[in-house]
């Protein structure tokens, strides 16, 4: 790796050649506001909030698209920068319900409080699923917005609720194109793109059809990267804790966090450190786990067939019944079918039971099916 040194805000920063100025700053814990940048997406330069001053460079280049070079001298805070990015932020906010972002009471506001600023209930930050987890809130707080000098565009935009797992609310969309880029760069599907021009611009599928009628594979990689509350899961309960584990579907072995609340699995999040998946998940992994784990048809008690019907039994009764009967057969009269869904430990004891206790090598699983 080729190491370079640059100076950011008077601080010496070591970086690797190939990094952008933004990445170099972030690696040294220097905050530069941005909304369109995402670590695993290509530089985009769309939101214009990460502008910086660089010695011997004209104007205010965007840090996310400028390669860091050895000896570069960068300033991330100045009145010129602040003036321009404040205007850029106002332009972003002019199409986003934003009155709360300027309000000093935001932290204390409940969904149905009487609002002295007459912000419509549906426009309030407190009713947005991304509230308190919103990058626009963070950026607005950092840059500071006092008033919009541009009139707000309040034209209602369409909400796509066709997907069973997540919604696309274009009223909250800030057109950062992270979702569009994720769908192209991360998944290679390209179900959505930026369509139309000017104030009419929006995230849309081919032919502007609902997501369910498009080629969308419902993996939710767009949702994960949305900085605001435009693409949000239909189920937005926050977990109390998360447990790192491995997906139970196919053989890729995606590392994931199961979100738990009240001893139920309620959410799934990809593990960015996962060696096989680097945070990515498919529709089954992300949305297809919680519901079957907590399903009401789960078996909850042993059952023994009596008079042709399966009836509830205690563990002792069921296990003693099996242990009593299994011993009566010769080795080659018994077969043990293990499972490719179970753990290594489960499979190991299963084949050990077959071989060391039942005296048979008739042990197999569905590897061939």
């Amino acid at each position: 790796m080729d190491k370079i040194t640059l100076t950011i805000n008077g601080q010496e920063v070591k970086a690797t050649r190939g990094m952008t100025v933004l990445e170099a700053a972030q690696s040294a814990d220097i905050y530069v506001p941005t909304l369109c940048h995402y670590p695993d997406l290509e530089p985009y330069g769309g939101c214009r909030l990460c502008i910086v001053e660089i010695e011997k460079m004209r104007g205010l280049p965007t840090a996310c698209t400028t390669p860091a070079t050895d000896g570069m001298v960068v300033t991330t805070e100045s009145s010129a920068i602040q003036q321009v990015r404040q205007t850029s932020l106002e332009l972003i906010l002019s199409t986003h319900p934003c009155d709360c972002l300027e309000c000093h009471r935001r932290e204390r506001c409940g969904p149905y409080d009487i609002c002295l600023r007459h912000v419509a209930v549906t426009d309030r930050c407190v009713v947005c699923p991304a509230n308190d987890n919103c990058e626009l809130q963070q950026v607005a707080d950092y840059i500071g917005v006092h008033e919009l000098r541009i009139p707000r565009d309040t034209m209602p935009r369409t909400i796509d609720t066709s997907n069973p797992f997540f919604d696309l609310d274009r009223n909250r969309c800030i057109l950062c194109a992270r979702c569009v880029r994720a769908c192209q760069e991360i998944t290679g599907v390209g179900a959505i793109d930026m369509a139309y021009r000017g104030y009419g611009m929006k995230v849309a599928t081919f032919g502007d059809m609902p997501l369910m009628d498009s080629i969308c594979r419902s993996c939710g990689e767009c949702m994960v990267r949305c900085p605001v509350g435009a693409i949000t899961p239909k189920d937005t309960v926050l977990p109390e804790r998360e447990v790192k584990t491995v997906c139970t579907y196919c053989g890729i072995g995606c590392s994931m966090y199961l979100g738990v609340k009240d001893d139920k699995v309620i959410s799934v999040r990809g593990d960015e450190q996962g060696p096989a998946n680097q945070g990515r998940l498919c529709v089954k992994g992300r949305f297809g786990i919680a519901e079957f784990v907590n399903h009401r048809e789960r078996l909850t008690t042993p059952l023994i067939r009596k008079n042709g019907r399966l009836v509830k039994a205690s563990w002792d009764e069921a296990l003693d019944f099996i242990a009593g009967k299994l011993g009566k057969y010769r080795g080659d009269e018994v077969a043990v079918i293990s499972s490719a869904k179970s753990t290594n430990e489960d499979n190991y004891v299963m084949q050990k039971l077959a071989r060391a206790v039942l005296g048979t090598n008739n042990v197999d699983h569905c590897a061939r099916l």
Binding site: G188, V246, G251, E291, L299, A323, T343, Q351, R355, L369
Partner: protein, 546 residues
């Protein structure tokens, strides 16, 4: 797996998932990657966007076709001819890696002679792919090194599945595409822990770590480790066990977490066999179609309620962690099995936590020798990992093949066991959907996934559909020598004329009542990918008269 053992000495995936980005060419044969292995599908598409060349060989127009440089639409069951044809071109045009063949492989001359049986004209005739396209694919694969091969059940689920795998391995050896990043032969595992279940000995012929049961030294090793007398005769595979149960030779079965009454070929026969058992114990998380036939049903915990490890398709052992308490009175599989053993008076089943089981696995399995829970806490480990100091192995066969030299095997074309005829004129091949999984025991419980696909859609070519008077969405009957099922027709050009494709996700349309239980003689895998069927439209139910 048997095919890779013969040629390379190890049946596992040779390379790591993440080194795919190093490949300059990818051959995806018999894999509907974006549907069955979505994250690897994403990787493939990303690699293609960054310049990797992609060859897709598949009878169906799978989604990955749109990303491919070349699509070889060969007839189902003709993979050996296709691959041997490609290899003939490579040898004729002197594109092989002679140094690699000389240094690392054996039996090349014998193999090379067999290639003369595969002129492009014959290849074109049998596979239906224009000879020039086959040659173009061969050149693309051979001249863009490193090149990686990915395959799944489209290669293995044939009566000549082992031959198919050997053909794939021959191709990789011929071009020196083994043992380096971005190359290799990578069977993608369908289930989360197929690799691990095989590794720890849930196979009839081997103990943990693929140590043969019929080897006297190995048997003694396990006898002393387990303190028990062991049976030296290899057991029967699942696909052999079912017929034996049907004949009454196998009388008792203990089955954990599988659903053979939907997943096995000729499943009517399988259900009959299960009903004939004297004692049938099923351990599962749901009352599956199979569990409904059991004498005793034991409620197991799901993966979210237990600790353990899964081994993924790149041989990486990773920790599974308990997130919630067991649902109801369910128990972890290992606990239940140990309880049965203990109540039968056996010793050696006194485990209190899966970590202790892993310690025992490591002590008897050389490739898992250095794996333990405290190491796994930090990161997953790829086997072989023989000692605690060993970092694990990302790429197999880097200097030597597991068996020493890579072994070329000449191959003969053997057609599928059942070919279409006048009575059953169409080929049925099985496929999978992204939105459902295997027999649907888990995914069909998820309402959202069912909104994408909630019933079987038989993919049929518009030409065939028209000839049979079938419109898109019509109810049709699919009939084979073994059974008949009904489903809706999905008329699509993604299926070639003469072939229909079905999944086996839906109990209402048990596709495997149609499939052929004919087995590959070596690996005992059934021929899911070719069965002769006929299709007929079901007359619309007469509308109620006013």
């Amino acid at each position: 797996m048997a095919g890779l053992v013969t040629t390379f000495g190890s049946g596992a995936s040779t390379n790591s998932i993440k080194d795919m980005s190093d490949a300059r060419c990818i051959l995806a044969i018999g894999t509907n990657t974006t549907e069955a292995h979505p994250i690897i599908g994403m990787n493939m598409r990303k690699a293609v966007r960054e310049g990797t060349r992609l060859i897709v060989a598949n009878p169906l127009e799978i989604p990955l076709v749109r990303d491919a440089d070349i699509w070889l639409q060969h007839r189902s069951g003709t993979d050996v001819v296709l691959l041997m044809g490609m290899m003939k071109v490579i040898v004729d045009e002197d594109l092989m890696d002679t140094a690699f063949i000389e240094e690392r492989c054996e039996n090349y001359d014998f193999f090379k002679d067999s290639l003369k049986n595969y002129p492009l004209s014959l290849v074109e005739n049998i596979t239906g792919v224009p000879g020039e396209k086959v040659a173009e694919a061969a050149r693309l694969y051979a001249t863009n090194s490193p090149a990686a091969i990915f395959y799944t059940m489209g290669i293995t689920q044939h009566t000549h599945g082992t031959d198919n795998v050997i053909a794939v391995a021959n191709l990789a050896m011929l071009t020196g595409n083994v043992g380096k990043p971005g190359s290799g032969v990578n069977p993608l595992r369908g289930q989360n822990n197929v690799q691990g279940a095989c590794d720890v000995g849930a196979l009839p012929n081997v103990y943990p770590g693929y140590q043969p049961v019929n080897n006297e030294d190995i048997k003694e090793k396990f006898e002393s480790a387990w303190g028990a007398r062991l049976n030296p005769t290899p057991g029967k595979t699942l696909t052999e066990i079912m017929p034996l149960a049907h004949e009454g030779k196998i009388k008792a079965m203990y089955l954990m977490g599988e659903n053979p009454s939907l997943s096995d070929p000729d499943s009517t026969h399988v259900r009959e066999a299960l009903r004939r058992l004297d004692l049938f114990v099923v351990q599962d998380i749901f009352l599956s179609e199979t569990a409904q036939l059991a004498d005793v049903v034991l409620p197991a915990t799901s993966f979210a309620e237990k600790d353990g490890t899964f081994t993924n398709t790149e041989r990486r052992v990773q920790r599974v962690r308990k997130a919630i308490e067991p649902v109801g009175d369910s128990r972890p599989d290992w606990w239940i099995t140990c309880q049965i053993a203990r109540r039968m008076g056996a010793s050696g089943f006194d485990f209190e936590h899966p970590s202790q089981i892993m310690e025992e696995i490591a002590s008897v399995t050389p490739s898992y020798g250095g794996i333990n829970y405290s190491r796994l806490e930090k990161e997953g480990l790829q086997w072989p990992c023989p000692t605690e100091e060993h970092p694990g192995t990302a790429i197999l066969h880097t200097e030597l093949f597991s068996r020493g030299k890579g072994h070329f095997v000449p191959l003969e074309y053997r057609p599928a066991a059942e070919l279409p005829d006048d009575e059953y004129p169409l080929v049925l091949t099985t496929d999978r959907s992204l939105f459902q999984f295997h027999t649907g025991t888990m995914t069909r419980k998820v309402r959202g996934l069912n909104t994408f696909l909630s019933e079987e859609l038989v993919a049929i070519n518009p030409g065939d559909a028209e000839a049979l008077g079938i419109d898109d969405g019509d109810k049709i009957q699919v009939i084979s020598r073994r059974g008949e099922v009904t489903a809706k027709a999905g008329v699509t050009e993604s299926t070639p004329p003469g072939t229909i494709a079905m999944t086996f996700h839906f109990a209402e349309t048990p596709t495997n009542e149609l499939t052929n239980p004919a087995l590959d003689p070596v690996s005992k895998i059934p021929e899911f990918k070719v069965a002769a069927v006929r299709v007929q439209k079901i007359g619309r139910v007469a509308a109620k008269t006013a």
